[in-house]
């Protein structure tokens, strides 16, 4: 096929070069919403080379160098949060099978990245990687920054050295976001081998267990405000961060990056403080727990790890303190489950009786009670009564429209089957008797 040159006009007219309107909106949105920097705006297409020192000055950063080239490093020390030595027992609740050395806070490396997007895959870069470790009773923070895409390798190499020094990674959602992304970056570098942390503690899930019920969201900044009582002040919206970096790379003023560095520092400090808070709660919820919800959260974690008696105690305490209705039900349900497991049917039955009602959990309580009377108490008549009650409840809910048709059919089928079996059981002796009579 012959080579045909295409005119530039033709290329410029391509749809593939057009940006969607929503993209444009976000790209411009930050100018209005981020900072009042005098409304200075500049074109996406303009390429000005930055004065290399301007960013360093704005950040108080130092250019560093290693065998792969240059990168920028920013270091600072914070007294807050103070160093914390975790209790091994509390750590084991989070990671049951870990070497003892994870309890050594010297080994810990807090890590948080700022990236060019959330899409993942080989086209998403971590342009700023913040790490922190305990030092002099406080937190030493180091931030690696690539001023250009070409500085990525030197950044990755520097990070690798830091991980070698402090091989226990501590992150917030790092298991599913930051670390896989860094793995991709190391692989794409084709030169620098992937660092191998000894352990990776991700505090997202424990935080979710402890506070989601109370806060709804478990974003780090939310947790800081509500759990730690911190106030970040003006903070850059994380959704705007990629665009700020792109603008900088294309020659925008470096000062706009300063809030991004600050944001990353705050994330690291928040993470360090939060991990201390979570571990101390897990270690001694009985005395530290601020409210029923936290107690409830800790008991869920204990239950998951099989520490049943501690979980039971904590559930009882959380129920005794104030809990919102939904959580109260959940706590009672869990407590009933534990009581059942330990053979304490008096308590279990009491909790189930309280929980009966037109809800998924209410029906579960009916079911549990029916099972108990059928199999444990050997009182099929009482079991039938419970099932009948459940079916009446269902019928009523269906008539008043208080239950979704799908759920109704599903639950009803379950109780119908149970009822059928119970009735069959109760009929059986009679049939047997008849059969014996006939034989005689």
């Amino acid at each position: 096929m012959s080579m045909r040159y295409v005119s530039l006009d033709r290329v410029r007219g391509l749809k593939a070069l057009r940006r969607s309107t929503t993209q444009e909106a976000t790209a411009q949105g930050w100018q209005a919403s981020l900072l009042n920097d005098g409304g200075e705006s500049y074109s996406r297409t303009k390429m000005i080379r930055n004065d290399p020192d301007r960013l360093s000055q704005a950040l108080g950063a130092a250019p560093k160098m290693n065998q792969y080239g240059d990168y920028l490093s920013v270091r600072c020390w914070c007294a807050q949060p103070p160093r914390y030595s975790p209790d091994l027992r509390a750590l084991r609740l989070l990671m049951p099978e870990t070497p003892d050395e994870i309890a050594d806070p010297e080994q810990w490396l807090f890590l948080d990245t700022e990236t060019t997007g959330l899409a993942g895959g080989s086209g998403t870069y971590a342009f700023l990687v913040g790490v922190a470790w305990w030092e002099d009773g406080g937190l030493e923070i180091e931030q690696f920054f690539m001023r250009e895409y070409s500085e990525e390798r030197s950044l990755l190499f520097a990070l690798r050295e830091r991980i070698a020094e402090h091989p226990v990674l501590v992150t917030f959602n790092g298991k599913s976001f930051d670390w896989p992304l860094l793995e991709t970056r190391y692989r794409m570098s084709r030169k620098i081998s992937l660092p191998t942390p000894r352990a990776h503690l991700d505090f997202l899930h424990p935080a979710r267990n402890l506070w989601r019920l109370r806060l709804g969201s478990v974003r780090l900044s939310e947790l800081e405000r509500h759990v730690l009582g911190w106030d970040r002040g003006a903070d850059v919206l994380s959704g705007l961060i990629p665009q700020i970096y792109f603008d900088y790379v294309r020659g925008g003023p470096p000062e706009r990056l300063v809030p991004v560095f600050h944001h990353n520092q705050m994330d690291l400090r928040g993470l360090a403080a939060l991990s201390s808070r979570i571990l101390s709660l897990l270690g001694d919820a009985e005395n530290i727990g601020q409210d029923g919800l936290e107690l409830f959260g800790v008991s869920r974690i204990c239950e998951k790890r099989g520490e049943n008696s501690r979980a039971r105690k904590l559930y009882e305490r959380s129920i005794a303190s104030f809990l919102p209705t939904e959580t109260d039900r959940a706590a009672r349900r869990s407590l009933a489950r534990l009581a059942k497991r330990e053979g304490d049917f008096d308590l279990a039955c009491e909790l189930w009786e309280d929980g009966l009602g037109n809800s998924r959990h209410g029906y579960e309580a009916y079911e549990q009670l029916a099972i108990y009377y059928e199999h444990k108490a050997r009182d099929p008549e009482r079991a039938r009564q419970i099932v009948r009650q459940a079916l009446n409840e269902l019928l009523r809910a269906n008539q008043t429209g208080d239950i979704a048709p799908g759920a109704y059919r599903e639950i009803k089928a379950k109780f119908d089957r149970r009822m059928e079996r119970l009735e069959h059981k109760s009929r059986k002796p009679l049939l047997d008797a008849l059969a014996m009579q006939a034989q005689a």
Binding site: M1, G123, Y149, F246, V249
Partner: protein, 806 residues
Amino acid sequence: MSAFQSLAPRQPTSLETVHNIFGSLVARYRQEEVLTAVRQIPAREAKFRPVPAWVASALADAYRAKGIRELYSHQAATSELVRDGKNIVVVTPTASGKTLCYNLPVLNAALENADTRALYLFPTKALAQDQLAELQDLAKRLDDSFGVFTYDGDTPSDARKAIRERGHIVLTNPDMLHTGILHHTKWMRLFENLRYIVLDELHTYRGVFESHLANVLRRLKRIAKFYGSDPQFICCSATIANPGDLASQLIEKEVEIVEENGAPAGEKVFIFYNPPMVNRNLGIRRSYINEATRVAKEILARKLQTIVFANSRLHTEVLLTHLQQANPPKPGQPEPIRGYRGGYLPGERREIERGLRDGRILGVVATNALELGIDVGSLDACVMAGYPGTIASTWQRAGRAGRRSGSSCAVFVASSAPLDQFIVQHPDYFFGSSPEHGHIQPDNLEILVNHLKCAAFELPISPDERFGNTNLPELCEQLGEAGFLHQSGGDWHWIDEAYPADTINLRSVTSDNFVIIDTTGENNGKPEVIGEVDFSSALTTVHPKAIYIHQGQQYHVEHLDFDKRKAYVKPVNVDYFTDAIRYTQVRVLEVAEEETIAEPAARAHGDVLVRSQVVGFKKIKFFTTENVGSGKLELPENEMHTTSFWLTLGHALLAELPFTLSERQSGIFGLLYALGSMATLLMMCDRRDLGTAVGERPPSAASEINWEDFAVPANTSEAKEFFEPNLYIYDAYPGGIGFSEPLYRACDTLLSRALELISACTCENGCPSCVGPTADCSERTKEVALEILGRLCRDAQFTTRTAETA
């Protein structure tokens, strides 16, 4: 003379059966008009070769256990070429043991080196699933623990990790490769050890999808290179004229072609069935769906296992209903006639396939999903309702019927579409072993640039790379200016948050359909979707107030929701139909080549701008074809840059014609209608892939003309006369998909095919099967078109030369 007598029967039994069946079907008609061809295709002996000595004994044993002791000659040839490190394309008909061609060398390589990885690409998920079963069966027979997996949108996320790590052979489709594999370093092991890429059913990648595929493969090769591998390609295709060209353009490497087929085949009788005429003047024939049903019923009545193909899901359902009614299940027995199409679950398909093999199922009605290499065993007969679109597909479908020994029968029932009518009336074109050329345009800029964005996301672009036939640094600059790329350290990096592949659909042209909703049942909450039309024909067929004819029922379009792509209709019974008035203007932007053909006519191809708008419609009375009213419409205008082929008819040529002005105008449109139909035949493409338009040849390419004057006139008498009309056949996709230049090369073939089509049509003044519906045409449309064609072909000085180069 009867069509049967023209043949010397070799196997009297089979021909006798065929005679019986069709004798009664066509008893009332002129046999030679209905049965336009009855051809006997003789049986073919198998050509065997021993299993090559280098094949691992475990693998040879595994095949032996499956009953394969020797290879067919083409299987052996392929294996040797692959072994020698060649990229190959193997051309095989249905049921010729194609999968062994790639499975044998790939599995053998994996036995020699457990790190070997292979990627199999199939056009559909269903095909990958079918191949999986075969491969797993082989893998089980081998001692080594082979990982053979499909990887597509349905793969559960917890299984994905294992597939990435342990999958020796990963079966997937281009779409999944595009959005789910190429940008993930998690696939590193596969990329690092990627030795083979299998592209099956190559001939099914057509038009836009193929252009996309070419670019996805460019991306795949880049990634493989990055991870240090240089995979070999093994392609399989049904019979087309240029498998080697097509494959080498697609993979951009040298390919060896294996064409000799060593598989045996039983004798086959191939029949062309043209539904009888109902109204000779208007060229109306009996419904081909009903006729196909009659044919299938007759065959099924003789307890012959039959597969019936329809071209749309809807027709499948109609045929299925008719045939099930005619063949009710016996008490306690399963339904003997089953549907089989894309949406069916694998388990259901397996059950149908088993049923066919053990004879419990007598017939299946299928869409084209089954045309591809899915194993239903071999059947006695195949009935095709409507032309499958290409010779290659027709043979594929016909191949579904065919015992390795014994005889089988294939029937093609023609619809009244021009393409069908051409084929059914020119059986020699079909049987004359001149299959279509596959054409490809991997450098469609719109598509290429989209994939370049994905490529940059996957891996920064180095300035000395190549990506298609383009000026890569220039394109990167442009993408940089548009804010997608950024150059750093020489390389171009992706600089955007979004993942570009998410917004690029490899099958985009057909995804944008309008659904047609019958609102009759709305009050009881059951509006019914009765069909769908693609974007390009929606504006002309389901515009507001249009009469849409569906399954013989007329519907009035009450409302067209353009944004939601829905047309709301109500059944009506009126004595007219509607014809949309569409203005299409084509402006030539750049002439690539131009040549005088028959003075004063010329052919050309190049870049054009196409603007089109549906501006109104006419109501036309049935039978009398009177114009009984019209209406104006306000619908959005469409504009696109694309490539086009065109013919320029010189003024002198038109002036010479002994017809009135309006007759001449109609003749030009009629001619273009026929040319458009024949172009799809030559280009092996879908009718929707090509657009047609007539326009005045402007004095120069740059000058503006008042295009409405020259577009399809609302009323012929009002139209200006064309001074020197251009007849455009353009690629109906922005940027063009590669038909224009081949059409230019094949110009004379196109003209002579159109001449054959029109002259063979038995209608009086033109009908939908030749120059288009007579509704608006003058009575001499056909005559004028033939006259013009006659002049063009008579003087053609380049006849043989271009036919060779085409």
